[in-house]
């Protein structure tokens, strides 16, 4: 395979694998920037994937080509509602946020599989018929080299993911809401003194993270697996968590990290066809994102600092 052919294969695959990670990692950015640790991203993604696939299967006849898009929106709402559990436990009930996140992960997969077994009588759903279509961007696809790499047979959801990252950057860094969000995550008492409703901001942030993780999960299921079973998400949520940290709790950084992790996944899949890489055991590619995250946290790749009040419940009047 020539270098160019290789790039024509790897680049679109990278973007396709990265899109769900981008959505979910940005969701994580919102939650953790407000000071609520969200280890439950995996469970929220599972819920999104399950609801997305379920809606797609049941309403494919009604909505036709629009089905996958409406399914993503429905999944978004479902996961947003599901994330309320995490919000209530960790913000109002002052639960340990990591423990609550673990519970969300267990609950997400348990509810989804329980329902799948009741509805379908087996461990996984049928295959969906209405997938997100791949399309060629007019005009841009004719640009030599770059055109076939970025603008041929692409998913609309990938463009949406990059759009969400940019919007998230704007919201977090250029709007009053973003400033409040960040201040609540750094020093909630100071924010409270300035009249910011800490509890409300944190609730909103967690719900946004649930909504985005729901989109991420459903996009992953509808583009990549096309059904839902116990292994559908299998660690994508934790990889998104890793992308968020590797991206230093910054939306654009998280997007970059997600793209890089998507690249590692694409390489692992395409490895048998690629010279040099094919001699390398794929296990190295599989563990790459996780090893890099540990290195980033250890400060070998720039210092990754979490928001100051991350993980601490805010108790009014406590010093």
């Amino acid at each position: 395979m020539s270098i160019l052919e290789l790039l024509y294969f790897i680049v679109p695959a990278t973007i396709a694998y990265a899109a769900p990670l981008i959505f979910t990692a940005i969701g994580g950015v919102f939650s953790e920037r407000s000071g609520v640790v969200n280890i439950g991203l995996e469970g929220l993604m599972v819920m999104g994937a399950f609801v997305g696939i379920l809606f797609n299967l049941f309403y494919a006849d009604t909505f036709g080509g629009w089905t996958p898009w409406i399914a993503i929106i429905v999944a978004m709402f479902a996961s947003a509602i599901f994330s309320l559990l995490h919000a209530v436990a960790s913000i109002s009930f002052r639960a340990d946020q990591v423990v609550s996140g673990v519970a969300i992960n267990m609950l997400g997969i348990a509810i989804a599989l329980f329902s799948v077994k009741i509805i379908f009588g087996k461990g996984q759903t049928d295959l969906i018929q209405q997938k997100i279509p791949r399309f060629d961007m007019p005009i841009l696809q004719d640009i030599p080299i770059i055109g076939p790499m970025f603008f041929k047979s692409m998913y609309g959801s990938s463009i949406l993911a990059i759009g969400v990252a940019i919007v998230a950057w704007f919201v977090i860094y250029k709007t009053p809401f973003g400033l409040r969000l960040r201040s609540v995550g750094e020093h909630p008492m100071a924010a409270d003194t300035m009249g910011i409703n800490v509890t409300r901001i944190r609730y909103i942030a967690v719900i946004i993270s649930g909504a985005l993780a729901g989109i991420g999960g459903s996009v992953y299921a509808i583009t990549t697996t096309n059904d839902f079973g116990h292994a559908t998400i299998n660690g994508q949520g934790f990889m998104a968590l890793a992308a968020m940290i590797f991206g230093k709790w910054h939306p654009i950084g998280a997007m970059g990290a997600a793209l890089f992790f998507g690249f590692a996944q694409a390489l692992a899949i395409g490895a048998p066809k690629i010279p040099y890489i094919q001699d390398l055991p794929t296990v190295y590619l599989h563990i790459l994102p996780y090893v890099l995250t540990i290195l980033a946290l250890a400060g070998f790749i720039g210092k990754a600092n979490a928001p100051k009040a991350n993980g601490q419940p805010y108790i009014k009047g406590q010093r």
């Binding site: 423990v99 267990m106 348990a110 934790f238 296990v283 540990i294 946290l297 250890a298």
Partner: protein, 347 residues
């Protein structure tokens, strides 16, 4: 109501609420909760065989719970029990197949290998936490996935492309004909004794040694401990290593007792994560861990009977367990509720 009673009531109320919501879920899905829970009960205590299998299931839960609880006492959250358990499982299974030794040496060696593997897996986050102040939660999560992928790759290369290691030699096995016969030919093995021994070991380390005192002190207040002349870094590393060793032994239960081998895995075993529930319910004390492991091990094994006897998917038990964690974690609100009740009574 004293503080002590409240501490005791929170897990009890949580279990009750978890089972109650589980019943509501069953009822809403069109099942009869009474038939469902009866099937669960029979799956746990129905006959000698079920009891044997339930006890067998409790042993890895005991060790996973100990691992989480031990780290908790030093103020560390070890979510990496799952990964430490997987590498322990692999190390034990590998030593079990690769060597031919007399049982007196082989079995202890396999157990030791599992403990060392788990300890090494715990050492990495411990070192990073102690030396570079890297938060252990994220590192241990990442270590879980690294363990999963590396062990799968090792199984493939050792077995020559297959997805399963060979069966371990009899000399490394924890299987016991006596226990098996006693419980109608269940797979009950000596692992439960090792697990209970480790509960005693944890109690002894924490309550009867200077090291344990230091570990707990660091958990309460690391700055005060440093001021008192304790080596905080050393204690953090030690805590993670011991925690990892417990988790590794949990893997050995599966390798040397239940399965006698290791197959490549598509996902996690879940035992490590359930260990968090066990420790939480048991308030991180050795006795509490026995209580938590017994409850969750029983629920997990008994659930296998639910699809056959009541037609209810086993996942209902996972839902109940997740809810119990949720309620225990939200103990603050239960405490507030109980205090309100107390005030009303006082009036």
């Amino acid at each position: 109501m004293s503080n002590r009673t409240i501490k005791f009531l929170i897990p009890v109320i949580s279990i009750f609420l978890g089972l109650l919501v589980g019943a509501i879920v069953m009822w809403m899905s069109g099942y009869d909760p009474i038939i469902g829970y009866a099937a669960l009960w029979n799956g746990i205590f129905g006959d000698a065989y079920a009891i044997g299998e339930t006890i067998r299931q409790i042993s890895p839960y005991l060790l996973a719970g100990l691992a989480v609880a031990f780290a908790f006492r030093t103020g560390l959250f070890n979510i990496g029990v799952e990964g430490q358990l997987i590498v322990g499982w692999f190390a034990a299974a590998y030593v079990g197949t690769a060597f031919e030794l007399p049982a007196m040496i082989h079995l202890p060696l396999a157990l030791l290998a599992a403990a060392v593997a788990g300890a090494l897996w715990g050492l990495v986050p411990g070192l990073l936490k102690a030396k570079l102040r890297v938060h252990e939660v994220i590192v241990t999560i990442m270590m879980n996935y690294i363990a999963l992928h590396i062990v799968n790759a090792l199984i493939r290369s050792i077995s020559g492309g297959s997805y399963k290691l060979e069966k371990i030699h009899k000399t490394a096995s924890l299987r016991s004909e006596f226990l098996s016969n006693l419980t109608d030919y269940s797979t009950l093995h000596y692992g439960i004794l090792i697990a209970l021994l480790m509960v005693a070991v944890m109690w002894f380390i924490l309550d009867k040694t200077k090291t344990g005192y230091e570990l707990k002190a660091v958990g309460f207040n690391d700055q005060a401990s440093r001021y008192a002349g304790m080596n905080v870094d050393k204690n953090i590393i030690l805590s993670m290593v011991i925690s990892g060793a417990f988790a590794g032994l949990g893997g050995a239960m599966e390798a040397l007792g239940t399965f006698g081998t290791m197959s490549s895995m598509g996902g996690f075993t879940g035992i490590g994560f359930d260990g968090i529930a066990v420790a939480l319910l048991g308030a991180n004390s050795p006795l509490g861990v026995i209580f938590g492991a017994t409850l969750f091990g029983s629920l997990k094994y008994g659930a296998n009977n639910m699809p056959n006897a009541a037609g209810i998917p086993i996942e209902i038990v996972s839902i109940v367990i997740a809810l119990i964690i949720f309620f225990v974690a939200s103990g603050y609100i239960i405490r507030v509720g109980l205090n309100r009740l107390k005030k009303k009574e006082a009036k």
